[in-house]
């Protein structure tokens, strides 16, 4: 393609398209026309979304049986393509059986007849970031699909792990509107469970508890539900999509209570129990390493920083998730020898190494910002998905995430800001501590650029300073771009004005974990940037235009906007004028500010120098929809400011 299109999603889509094939306008069947009319923007209707869970405990053994039923009517050819292949994902803790799948099509009399799926395959699921895991899926293709066809699926999942097998039930679907949704749980009276509702619009869910022989049946039903929205910069669906969370508290057998979940303490006990046997023996090699690393240091913070940086630099992230092994860190000595590990392993080796020099350190469970729950709301494994080391140095907690390759010591990774860490103190004690959120002042991009006009080209020399998450994210982006074989990341990052801009890197400093601030010195040349006429020069001072295209579609967007971290960018452009020119027009200063976002733009002319100061900040992790109108106002005012240019005239 010659044109640089913005059709990113289209391009990606086309790639998949070129490798497959699908229908565009095959004849639709059945009484589907009215649905297509009623839902012109939808591709499918979920007729039924149902799951029935039976929980039991007999002979010291848990039984968890889930029966899942789904029925979807396809309205468009896009749905035919997208939903022809179905997969049932499952972990090593469960067995999938009784898969019944078929396509329903109406016969000439209008009666729906089934064409069954016959060929079901089993496949190992490759999950991003996990080298080897025990996740599998059953896959198959629905036959004879066309608009109007109904796909029908049911299956059983059985297992015996009481902490992990009851998944949150999302009542609605990405596929399209849901007509009928039902979740039910059957338990004998000696088993106690807790349920909670999460997400928006949970009022739509009706609840009913009935007696059944020897126990209870809990049922949640909902009808006519909107699809789960998909948006850019959206938080995880569990923040907004309505869902039901059920967990087992305990079971009473022979007057004895066997605890499962339901409180922070019980969750901790389970985690701690799994991990209690590790690190019984110290690794002499690891101790030697710790001694070597810290021998010339006296300050515990320096020692801890040295150890953390060593782990960042020497233990590579490779994750194995195999059964309950997915919950238990490997031995510290083993990790030291292998030089790789996942988040648990890294947390464990850091904890061990710190303890070797008598620094208080603990393993801590934590949910990344993908999980909306607090431990008190959801005292079950769904609340977390990550592990870190929490150290206590000079009576201060330090959050050490070994997976943060570029984190300076003491700065938690951006993905756990504001989240609760469940810190394991000892066999009987834990603490819940909230990870701090970094203020915008800690995450800066600060550029200073001195410019001169040379004919139609703007040339100059500048520095760019980066701090906190701003710096870390740039380092990740650079790594990603290098992984694609691109070696000039900083040149692209600093390019401004237009895509003819050439950047020459003079120096880079402090791009390592030891520093919170890094800087780049560079030279820049922007050809074809200046517009000249016989007697005038027009210069757009907005060399970079953040948030230019960030308008939110207020009619469409229903979910909050997520940002990785708070930040503030400031740019100072100083344009030195040749004696041949004088200033004819300088735009007015502009600003817009509220608690969450804003900008400030000032122009100054003194001694043949024009100074433009431009500050823009973003100060939210989750921007609520109620702020969207103000956001659009902000973007509009920014764009108005971007339209204003500087005019110079020839000195007579």
């Amino acid at each position: 393609m010659k044109q640089v299109t913005k059709l990113f999603s289209t391009t990606i889509f086309l790639l998949t398209l070129l490798a497959t094939s699908y229908h565009t306008y095959a004849q639709s069947v059945g009484n589907v026309e009215h649905l297509i009319k009623k839902y012109p923007d939808e591709d499918a209707i979920v007729l039924l979304n149902k799951e029935h869970v039976i929980i039991n405990f007999e002979n010291n053994q848990w039984y968890i049986d889930r029966h899942v039923e789904e029925k979807t009517q396809l309205l468009t050819t896009k749905a035919q393509m997208g939903y022809a292949q179905e997969s049932i994902g499952y972990s090593g803790f469960e067995t999938i059986s009784d898969i019944k799948a078929q396509t329903l099509l109406p016969n000439p009399k209008g009666k729906y007849m089934g064409t069954p799926v016959t060929d079901i395959q089993e496949n190992d699921v490759m999950i991003d970031g996990i080298f080897y895991g025990d996740y599998k899926e059953k896959t198959f293709v629905y036959p004879a699909l066309q608009p109007g066809a109904i796909t029908e699926l049911s299956y059983h999942s059985t297992g015996s792990e009481p902490h992990l097998l009851i998944n949150p039930f999302f009542i609605s679907s990405y596929k399209g509107p849901t007509f009928e949704s039902e979740f039910s749980v059957e338990v004998p009276s000696h088993i106690n469970i807790t349920y909670r509702l999460f997400g928006d619009n949970t009022d739509a869910i009706k609840f009913n508890k009935t007696n059944i022989p020897n126990g209870f049946k809990y049922t949640w039903t909902a009808k006519n539900l909107a699809p789960i929205a998909i948006e850019d910069a959206a938080p995880h669906r569990s923040y907004y999509a309505p869902h039901i969370l059920v967990y087992i508290n305990d079971v009473i057998v022979n007057n004895q209570t066997i605890e499962v979940l339901g409180s922070e303490k019980k969750l901790y006990n389970w985690y701690n129990d799994m991990c209690k046997n590790i690190n019984q023996q110290e690794s002499p090699e690891l101790r030697a390493k710790v001694t070597e690393l810290t021998q010339n240091l006296s300050n515990p913070t320096e020692k801890a920083a040295r150890i953390y940086n060593w782990v960042q630099n020497n233990i590579k992230y490779i994750a194995f998730e195999d059964g309950l092994g997915g919950f238990v860190p490997r031995e510290a000595g083993d990790i030291y020898q292998k030089k790789y590990g996942d988040c648990k392993d890294m947390s464990n080796i850091i904890t061990n190494m710190l303890r070797m020099i008598n620094i208080e350190a603990h393993l801590a469970w934590i949910g990344t910002r993908d999980r909306p729950y607090t431990y008190s709301e959801a005292p079950c494994p769904i609340a977390d998905n990550h592990m870190i080391c929490v150290a206590k140095i000079d009576n201060q907690y330090v959050f050490l995430d070994g997976t943060g390759e570029f984190q300076p010591f003491g700065l938690p990774t951006a993905m756990i800001q504001g989240k609760e860490a469940l810190v394991g103190i000892d066999a009987n004690h834990y603490e819940i501590i909230q990870v701090p959120t970094a203020p915008k002042e800690n995450n800066l991009r600060k550029e200073q650029l001195n410019l001169q006009i040379q004919d139609k080209t703007l040339v100059g020399k500048g520095t760019c300073e980066l701090t906190g998450y701003r710096k870390i994210y740039i380092e990740y982006d650079k790594l990603k771009s290098e992984a694609k074989g691109q070696k000039d990341y900083f040149n692209n990052f600093l390019r401004k004005g237009n895509n003819k801009c050439a950047v020459k890197i003079i120096d880079t400093q402090h791009f390592n974990q030891a520093n919170n601030t890094a800087s780049i010195t560079y030279e820049v040349s922007i050809p074809n940037y200046i517009t000249t006429t016989q007697d005038k020069i027009y210069l757009n001072p907005h060399l970079i235009k953040p948030f230019k295209d960030a308008t939110i579609d207020l009619e469409k967007r229903t979910i909050a906007k997520e940002s990785d971290f708070n930040y503030e960018d400031s740019y100072q452009f100083v344009i030195e004028l040749d004696k041949a020119y004088s200033l004819a027009h300088l735009p007015e200063n502009k600003q817009f500010k509220n608690e969450y976002f804003g900008f400030e733009l000032t122009y100054n002319y003194q001694k043949n120098k024009i100074t433009i100061n431009f500050k823009v900040f973003s100060n939210y992790l989750l921007l609520k929809t109620t702020n969207f109108a103000a956001w659009n106002d902000f973007v509009q005012q920014l764009n108005n400011a971007y339209q204003e240019v500087i005019v110079l005239k020839n000195t007579p």
Binding site: K2, S9, T10, A19, S21, A144, K338, V645
Partner: protein, 645 residues
Amino acid sequence: MQNFIYYLLFISLSIKSIAHPNTVQPAYLNYDWANEPTKYSFLEEQPTTILKNYKQIEYTYNAKGDLTCYETTHKIVYIDNDLALETFNKVYIPVTDTIDLVRIKARSISQDGKITNFNRNSLKSINNEEIGTYNIFAIEGAEKKGVIEYLYTTRTENIDLYGREWLQSDYPTQNTTIEIISPPNLLFEAKSYNGFPQPTITETDSMRILKAQFAEMLPLTEETYSTPRANYMRIDYKLSYNQIPNTTPKRLFDWQMASKHFGGLVSEKQDKATTALIANTLKTLKLKKLSQEDKIIAIEEYLKNTITIQQNSPSASVATILHNQYANEVGICRTFAAFFQTAQIPYQIVITSDRTKCRFDAHFEAWNSFTDILFYFPQTKKFIVPNIFVYRYGNAPEHFADNHGLFITPNTYESTIQLIPTANFKDNLSTIEAQVDFTDIHTPKVRFQQEWAGYRAVTMRAAYNFQKETLLNALATSSIEDTHPTDIVVSNDAMKNNAYPDKHFGITATFSIKSLIEKAGDNYLFKVGELIGAQTELYQNHERQNPIDMDYPITYRRSITFEIPKGYALKGVEDTRIDHSVEENGQKINRFESGYSLKANQVTIFANEYYEKTHLSKESYDNFRKVINAAADFNKIVLVFEKQP
């Protein structure tokens, strides 16, 4: 079509040992790594380097006289940085039900000489339908500035008697060796590409060895307008003769054998019931009065709208495919063949490769290049590709065009090697006509008419049919998201129209584009160049490595008209005059040309561009770059409306 090649497994040849069972030890047993790792001395600024890349493919008879294949891989890699460490510290060994891993050794050697050996117990296996079946493991103890080394051998009796080894990558590679070993009676041939040396032959009483070596290989990386994968050094090999005493050896794995195999695979005769079923379906398509060409188009339209491609679905009969309405790649080709056969439409089967990954060699029967199937209609000289929905009857898709293919006549299996032609640059078209209205000078209204033909229409129709809104928003300039287009008129959007080159796909819409205007005191700047959209800028930050390969030849035509707002004078329009071209034998083969005309207050600006030849040597890069960048220059043009006193 990755799975396609596996159909070859069913080829049976009498290659069993006619001599007594073999007593010769397999050669791989004589190959091992040095117990003491080699001591390398590295430069201060040593980049990540593959220090050794050894590959041995050994065909040998086992004790029962069955042919067995051992493949040995030995790699030593110096790791300079985190990225390389993360790339090389995980190893994937392809295995299947019929391929065993007979030996595996791995170790890491740290900068200070510490050796960590790999424990075979850490080996895991995965079976994923997309990437395949592998034994996987992580290298233990690997560090930056250290060395990773691994050696493994697989064994199979379920044998491919041909193969391909990719030898180059985006890392520098030293000491590349490839050996193809066979019993003396099995004569393998091999051919090297892209500068890798041709193999030499050594024959002993017990084996025949094809061997090639290369000491210092440079890395080859992706560049804009390049197909690095097709430019990587590689070697292709195949069995050519099985020498049986007292017989005339017959050439094996030659074009004729390929013709028979693929001809049979695709155009096998259908049973009576299936033929009747197809005949009935054809009746409903009402083909009788149609021209030959329209018949083909109607069959293609029917099958592509009815049958979805499910790449990993099992092979099925044509009758089953018609019932289930899904098929794998070979299945859909057989279905097309059965329909053409029944409708008595003469066709040829074309076997070829994706030229962006590997060019088809017309002079060597590299079976790994037989990856894709097209249909060719000799009467109209047009093509169909059955498994890609968006491409329709006409030129072959661009990644198959301008590449050779094996053209096979069904039934007789006669075949020829021919060049699959690409479309003329005039047939692939992208046009813009924009009329800008400055009634409200702060918010210009643009009536934007765009049309596409040929390959470009294929892409745009697909985008329109499946991501309408994204496409509409992205159509005009880079700053259009804020506005909602009005008065949208769409023409010839159906996929079927891809088969009719005269039916251009077009979208006309009116946009309000505030960002086209900038305020400069009393004056206004009109960013006219932005109306052609952002354009690729080619930078010159290193010496060009790859020859230039564009997707396809193409023509762009744009015209922008507007009236100068009353009370203002137009300045800067002379800047629109640009003309750059690449010449070959006095012909301008690629060119960008723009300019303007002025009639009273009415201004018309044009910017035309064409790329007639899309494969150019790397020596042409400077001139080529000027043409490409001329469009990017045009994109920066700003006109001034100066307030008149």
